[in-house]
Symmetry: C2
Subunit: 343 residues, 2 copies
């Protein structure tokens, strides 16, 4: 069995603007491992080069990974060498896909999950260029049950304006993502003002780096503010543990955990520590979002619209219909290449 590694160039349907910058395309890594397919997202703000990712993957001992007919997945994944999370995610997904195909069942079924129990997913709206453009965008998503507003514009006044406009223009549930934009002091002053907008949650208000900042922020916030979800601060299980009591939940993403194995562990531990689980994604093809979707019945909140933003998704898998996700009923990930061709 052999592994092929390629760059997956994903073009965005419209430029995607968040606090970290604006993208028109993204470059993810795609791995084929026999019948198994995996993807790892490399968002530009994680400062990781494709060379590092490919070099990690080329160094893996494939014979050890695939020695047996139905490889004991947990041990194989526990033994993966440390390395860039997107690279580990790509190989973790490919191994899960292969394993599910060999056992003859979709991953969700092998995990004892019912995909019908998945919560509704958010649709993410990037930072608007103007109020007029934003009102048009909101009108286009008038039927979305849950909208995630990217804020962190550099001005909390402008951030609040975005939320206020959305609140006026739509009946959708709203959540916001500041992508690390506020200082602890700004966040402590600003978050209580957001209570009136009935937000489902506020994501990553402050910069990642020192988890103590979350504890300081929490001590300065009154009760009753919207739940705070850690994203850039919470890559793996150990991050969730140190944030318990300060963050109300964590955003679990395969490109941060390094795949499904660690994502499941992080979900189990976060929930045991009374934290909410948001299952999120990066800008990704249907390979990675479908993989995450197999975990969706375990999540409190979903944000799995990563492939919806694409002009050229080369794969088909999970369907996304107005926040409602539907999983394919095929073994493994259940993802297939679209007729129209691979990149």
């Amino acid at each position: 069995m052999k592994m092929t590694v390629q760059t997956l160039t994903l073009r965005l349907a419209t430029p995607f603007r968040i606090a970290h910058g604006t993208s028109t395309e993204r470059h993810n890594v795609l791995v084929h491992l026999g019948d198994g397919l995996g993807e790892g997202a490399l968002p530009p703000y994680y400062a990781l080069s494709m060379e590092e990712v490919v070099s990690y993957l080329r160094r893996l001992d494939l014979d050890a990974l695939l020695a047996e007919d139905a490889p004991p997945l947990v041990h194989v994944l526990d033994a993966l060498p440390p390395g860039p999370a997107p690279a580990r995610a790509a190989v973790d997904l490919a191994l899960h896909d292969l394993w599910g195909k060999r056992l003859g069942h979709p991953l969700y079924r092998l995990w004892g999950l019912d995909p019908e129990r998945a919560p509704l997913s958010a649709r993410t709206l990037s930072i608007p260029e103007s109020n007029a453009a934003f009102r048009k965008t909101l009108a286009r998503h008038r039927d979305a049950p849950l909208l995630k507003l990217k804020i962190g514009t550099g001005s909390t006044k402008r951030d609040e304006e975005i939320i206020r406009i959305a609140r006026e223009e739509t009946g959708a549930r709203l959540c916001v993502d500041a992508n690390s934009a506020w200082s602890v002091r700004e966040a402590a002053l600003f978050i209580p003002r957001l209570t009136e907008y009935d937000l489902l949650f506020i994501e990553q208000p402050i910069p990642a780096g020192d988890p103590d900042d979350w504890h300081v922020l929490r001590r300065h916030l009154p009760a009753g503010v919207p739940p705070l979800i850690a994203d850039e601060s919470a890559h793996r299980t150990e991050d969730a543990i140190v944030l318990a009591g300060a963050a109300d939940g964590v955003n679990v993403k395969l490109a941060k955990t390094g795949g499904l194995h660690e994502a499941r562990r992080m979900i189990t531990v976060a929930k045991a520590l009374d934290m909410k689980v948001l299952l999120g994604c990066m800008i990704e093809s249907s390979v990675a979002v479908t993989a995450a979707a197999h975990l969706a019945p375990l999540a409190d909140f979903l944000d799995l619209d990563g492939a919806v933003h694409l002009a050229n998704d080369p794969f088909s898998g999970m369907r996304f219909d107005n926040g409602r996700i539907t999983l394919p009923d095929r073994p493994g990930l259940g993802v297939t290449a679209r007729e129209t061709a691979l990149p």
Copy 2:
């Protein structure tokens, strides 16, 4: 599909004496759910009546449990009503067995585990009646790689004598189980004296009840004492969380967790909190010990000789050869009734 519930009377090959009392037979609950088989142990010291257990099982809504061809096991088990842990264990095991049979694979394979990675299991020796009898017992187990000595005799002097004799008579690794026998003060004084015996661990030195006692004990112990494992104090995941930092590990048993689903969760969380996992059992037939054995590759230490003590194990499943366990390669639990008859 229907459920049958019966009492499983297990006769011990020799009387089993521990700090909580002496048994010559035990009464567990056995559940058949279609093709699925489950067992829950009722050790006498947990003061739970068979009537309570049977009454819980009779009240379950079977149609809800078994509505689908391959029931989404996690949701079904999450929705089980609260009730006695051995009753929940019996139905959890039967559902896992049924689910594995429907999916066509042994549980360990569905969990991505390799049974060859299981550590060696302890063989438990009950509190000896006399030194002469104990020396004979030790001679009979001269090839065991790991012996667990039941102590907590009421006298720490006698407890130490038992350990000393075992240390003199055998080259086996040793661990001890005090079954709640010592006060915090006794434990703080006695445990440091046990360091010289090179014990793999000391189980449940103090009474269950207040988890703060563990933290008090820990503060009074020097570094370098053998690892302390909580058993009677650690039934479920939440108990492991409050003992983190005080106990070095937990003994995970199906009759305490209420089955495999919560056992897997407890193992994941305990390990994430840097605690060791001892996978243990009660006096049980091959149904329950085999179920636990499917989790063995996740454990640091094993104590799965529950069925070895029996004069009349009505089932065959896991093999126990001098501490080495071997799992059957059949779907689900892989347990079958012995020819010689059901009770």
